[in-house]
Symmetry: C2
Subunit: 141 residues, 2 copies
């Protein structure tokens, strides 16, 4: 019974709020994105526009793939390509009043899921770490 | 009741076996490691020796950190540094007969955990994806 109490909770109570989420802008270069990923230590982060709308995700695998040449890494491409050209645009999203059950299902295949409001403005992320931490607390009834 | 049935199961029944896990060797260069990470799309993989013993983990954030200079990325360092010098050696491990409960607790803070046998030989990894998939099946009683 307790576990269904957990699954009905709202995503909004468990997200990392947008002001604490590292992100880059659509027009940034891959070099800038790689710098932010390196400085934060994250392997993937959201891509927003200047109005804070969500456009996709950029990650170290996507950047490395984009600069892989036949014989070597073509690092000189980093400041020639924009995040917008490489980012993953086909990503699931949640809203703040979605249930944790819906979030849990998406987290099976995604390390984190972005939450947006009805107009597409970015509000934060739900992560596997938070869900696992909460689930562990709940199942030790 | 069913959930404790799940937590008592053995890690060994849920790991990705070693022959399906991408890895590098302690003596490989960072350039080789970056190539393997790029080709597989993974952000972190185990580091083994020639006898298949586990020594640590290497990841894109660790490699990027190692080549970050004051003004730019020092890509020329990639073929001068060895995985052994940069890898994370302080990692938790599981054995095949550990319970999923023990695995779940470690997965809160680690995207995957390596399993080894009593002599330290690598046997596979337990991932957050597998645990989340199994947990979701169990809680929908
Ligand atoms: N600075 C740090 N302090 C403590 N633990 C750290 C950490 N950096 C990474 N980790 C641990 O490693 C996991 C994977 O990080 P990764 O960057 O690949 O994958 C992360 C990253 O891509 C993204 N993420 C998490 N927090 C973020 C933030 N504040 N800003 C932007 N992206 C974030 O969500 C993914 C899943 O995050 P989650 O927390 O479930 O899982 C994290 C967390 O358990
Ligand atoms: N080729 C692929 N096909 C389908 N989904 C993919 C995928 N590559 C990544 N993903 C998805 O992205 C998650 C994070 O991948 P990441 O490489 O950062 O983090 C991975 C990676 O560092 C490592 N890993 C997983 N499978 C591996 C393997 N066969 N060999 C080596 N390392 C592996 O364990 C971490 C957690 O894996 P997990 O499956 O929980 O979580 C994976 C999975 O949900």
């Amino acid at each position: 019974v307790r576990i269904s109490g957990f699954l009905d909770k709202s995503v909004g109570d468990y997200i990392i709020p947008s002001d604490r989420v590292a992100h880059v802008q659509v027009g940034n270069s891959l070099e800038h994105a790689l710098l932010v990923l390196t400085q934060t230590g994250y392997t993937a982060i959201p891509v927003l526009d200047s109005e804070y709308k969500l456009h996709g995700l950029i990650s170290t695998p996507l950047i490395l793939d984009a600069i892989t040449g036949l014989k070597r890494f073509e690092f000189e491409k980093l400041d020639k390509l924009a995040v917008e050209e490489i980012m993953n645009k086909k990503i699931p999203t949640l809203t703040l009043d979605d249930t944790l059950e819906k979030g849990l299902k998406l987290l099976i295949n995604h390390p984190f899921v972005c939450t947006v409001n009805n107009e597409g403005y970015f509000e934060g992320i739900l992560t596997r770490r938070v869900i696992l931490k909460q689930l562990t607390a709940y199942i030790h009834l």
